[in-house]
Amino acid sequence: MAEPLLQLSGVHTHIGPYHILHGVDFSIPASQLTVLLGRNGAGKTTTLRTIMGLWQASSGMIRFDGRDITKTSTPDIARAGIGYVPESMAIFTDLTVRENIVLAARSGPVEPARLDWMLGLFPALKRFWNLPAGNLSGGQKQMLAIARAIAEPRRLLLIDEPTKGLAPVMVRSMIEAFKALKASGETILLVEQNFYAASALGDNVIVMDDGRIVHSGAMREMVEDKTLQQRLLGLSLDAHQ
């Protein structure tokens, strides 16, 4: 296995008086796609936010590319090359679609080829290019959130439930997009409830429950092992598409 790009060891996170993460350990190998699964309230979002520095880990260590980023400020974490798609999408509703993307490309104008590729993936963004992003439909906002994260090449993408609200046809385009990104060497950590999408993309899988990692391994294993699915996720996953 490749050298891990991101590594969490013994990460605890508190939000106010609540203890949410109870010692999270995992590592993300470079240039692969890792899926983070778990039931509602398991702590997936909290994990991503902690990596991004939006919540401070109260103990433990987060290393990115060999560097300790546990106490680094969010902008610096982002500048180190981590892109983030939050669960809430966090679209800037006042700004136009264009302006949202302009801001996302921090180091300068978006490369034209990349822009064409993005707009090809999500034609709706092109249509609403100059209108306030607040007017977009739920799924279109989701597209914009993803487009923002991939407006520039990043070393690691943290993506929180990208397929929620997307029509099946869009889910397909997105899977293609992630494949292309992976091929270009980007590393992705994906939180996903849609097991169909997850299994189509994932190289590795991590399962969380109650703020702890309860399983990690190769995706293939998981797909094949029904009892593992039953035990970890409470359901046989192919019941749902």
Binding site: I15, R39, G41, E161, K164, G165
Partner: protein, 258 residues
């Protein structure tokens, strides 16, 4: 077309809304009869949520009418429509972020009980309302989180609360906008059961927007397809799903033309 004889619970006639040059909902006429569950599907941006907004009054139609049990309600405010029995859950979670989950539901129960205007009663003296709210939380499996405010709930739990509010309103017409989006696989069946229950009661009309085709298949009596704001297909589930327009524009499956 089925059950066209009875007065529909809800009907839209030529409903249209324009935003500048963009027609988000285009001349949609449709009737919804009590006791049926209609799934509304369509690609992102097809106009599903906008259609709901027009029905429940969050947006004003550019033209067309909305009728509840034969009565024109197009000019009413959202609150008045809710009183007429139109209930609505939102696609993007829309709750009272700092009140507890229980209080969120109680507010919906209270609206149903028309108790909002009592100024001199003590709110805690209405045990009946509290019990009802507790019961609903139980049904969506949020009882243990009833004292947590939505802003501290995980996304999936917020979705469940959103559903709970709709249940608490006990409307005649239920409008679900992607209720299971972001819910984990083991929670989805709970919600499906709830919707099934409503349907089974027989007199409720359910409109369901959902992108999970398995959910649609297992629940819907009828599917309506919106595309670019227009109603492009309407019929029983198997046929509609098999139609080229759905296969191509929605599911993204290549279909040979001809």
């Amino acid at each position: 077309m089925t059950a066209a004889t009875a007065t529909p619970a809800l009907e839209t006639r030529g409903l249209t809304i324009r935003f500048g040059g963009h027609v988000a909902v285009n001349d949609v006429s449709c009737r919804f009869t009590p006791g049926t569950l209609t799934a509304i599907v369509g690609p992102n941006g097809a106009g599903k949520t906008t259609y709901f907004n027009l029905i429940s009054g969050q947006l004003r139609a550019s033209s067309g009418q909305v009728l509840v049990e034969g009565e024109d309600i197009t000019s009413l405010a959202p609150s008045a429509r809710a009183k007429r029995g139109l209930g609505r859950a939102f696609q993007l979670t829309n709750l009272f972020p700092d009140l507890t989950a229980l209080e969120n539901v109680r507010l919906a129960v209270q609206s149903r009980a028309e108790a909002g205007w009592s100024l001199l009663k003590i709110w805690n003296s209405r045990r009946d309302l509290i019990e009802k709210a507790e019961h609903i939380l139980e049904r969506v499996r949020l009882s243990d989180k009833r004292h947590i405010a939505p802003k501290a709930l995980s996304h999936g739990d917020q979705r469940k609360l959103e559903v709970a509010l709709l249940l608490a309103m006990e409307p005649k017409v239920f409008m679900f906008d992607e209720p299971t989006a972001g819910m984990s696989v083991d929670e989805v069946p709970t919600v499906l059961e709830l919707i099934q229950d409503i349907k089974q009661r027989g007199d409720a009309t359910v409109l369901l927007v959902e992108h999970k085709m398995d959910v649609v298949r297992s629940l819907a009596d009828r599917i309506v397809v919106l595309h670019n704001g227009a109603l492009v297909a309407d019929g029983n589930p198997a046929e509609v799903i098999a139609s080229p327009v759905v296969q191509e524009a929605y599911l993204g499956v290549e279909v040979a033309h001809g």
